[in-house]
Symmetry: C2
Subunit: 209 residues, 2 copies
């Protein structure tokens, strides 16, 4: 397997961290999003959607969505379970993960992509250009204010977001928390459980993957 | 199990259709989105996020994301497989399903929620109000123009989106196709494979679920 990657970007970091937690040492190929390499002819032959992460399997099949990469790696390397080891655990992980994507990752992407001068006309990933919508950046910021309080409520006094088991939901939320600094958002002081959780996740070797 | 449902809305239709394809006859409770019942105290006790579908399990746990509901039903009722019966099938289904959600469902929701007079201040689902952004409706319409051509290319001469196996991706794409008519979008004549596929899916009993 080869992971088409970009060390700086949040989405491929999710896949790298998932693989590292599984104990997998994936071969990676860096795609320089900063210079637009994802739009190059060479990379569009790998993934016509021009996004990373993209996992190329040994038979040549390319999987280019985090949810699909995670499910595949969980299927072929079940231990340790990061989605879940029974139907209910899996459902709760997938639900919270989807929520963190929508309320955290998408909100941050709306801020960054609709306000950064370097992302002019790149308001959405993929092969097509779309103009920035400043109001969407403002809405992203408004709704992101609910994200850390949501995590705080979810965590309570638990070690991880889903209790005593580390899961894909922790990975996605950790990556969101680190990505937030790009648009000058950070864990507010009224979310102490999230602050402590963030330190715990940051101490895991996979956080350096 | 009880499915909190809304007969008219696209998202719960995905869950109903998935259950019907599994041969499950779920008890349903109708939540009237038209009158804002999803925001009522009664329903927020079921799902604080104020969305349907929400599947209440026999132990009282509520699962309120389509991806989580589908994975749960696939786990406890594996036949017929709608996500997949091996790791690669699962990954390909999850990837295409995610793509159809982003490029189809989200684009349509952007059009509808940011332009319909009846959805003023309801530009996003959930407990918080957000003002409509007319430019986002316009962007949703622009990018939806790529949706049916994407499906056409994916289908080619196949019976279903992933070849000869019916999958969750067909369900999501079918619901998107029907939802599109709400904002006056329909399968263009230059996508004949999608038109024929739509008729095939519409003829399945689950399309009436």
């Amino acid at each position: 397997m080869i992971l088409y990657d970009c060390k700086l970007a949040p989405s491929p970091r999710r896949a790298r961290m998932f693989a590292a937690e599984k104990g997998l040492d994936l071969e990676t190929i860096e795609v320089d999003l900063g210079s637009g390499e994802q739009l190059s002819e060479l990379f569009t032959q790998v993934n016509p959607r021009c996004t990373v992460p993209a996992l190329k399997l040994d038979d040549g099949t390319v999987i280019a969505e985090n949810i699909a990469i995670a499910d595949y790696l969980e299927s072929v390397h079940p231990e340790p379970p990061l989605i879940g080891s029974n139907p209910l655990q899996r459902a709760l992980t997938l639900e919270l993960n989807a929520r963190i994507e929508m309320e955290g990752l998408v909100a941050l992407a709306e801020i960054l992509r609709n306000s950064s001068p370097g992302m002019k006309d790149r308001a959405l990933p993929g092969p097509h250009n779309y103009a920035q919508i400043p109001e969407l950046a403002a809405r992203g910021r408004a709704r992101f204010q609910n994200f850390f309080p949501m995590l705080e409520q979810q965590l309570g006094s638990q070690e991880f977001l889903l209790g005593d088991r580390f899961s894909m939901a922790d990975i996605t939320a950790f990556v969101v928390t680190e990505f937030a600094t790009w648009v000058k958002e950070s864990i507010p002081s009224h979310c102490p459980s999230v602050q402590a959780w963030h330190q715990r996740i940051k101490a895991r070797p996979s956080a350096e993957a």
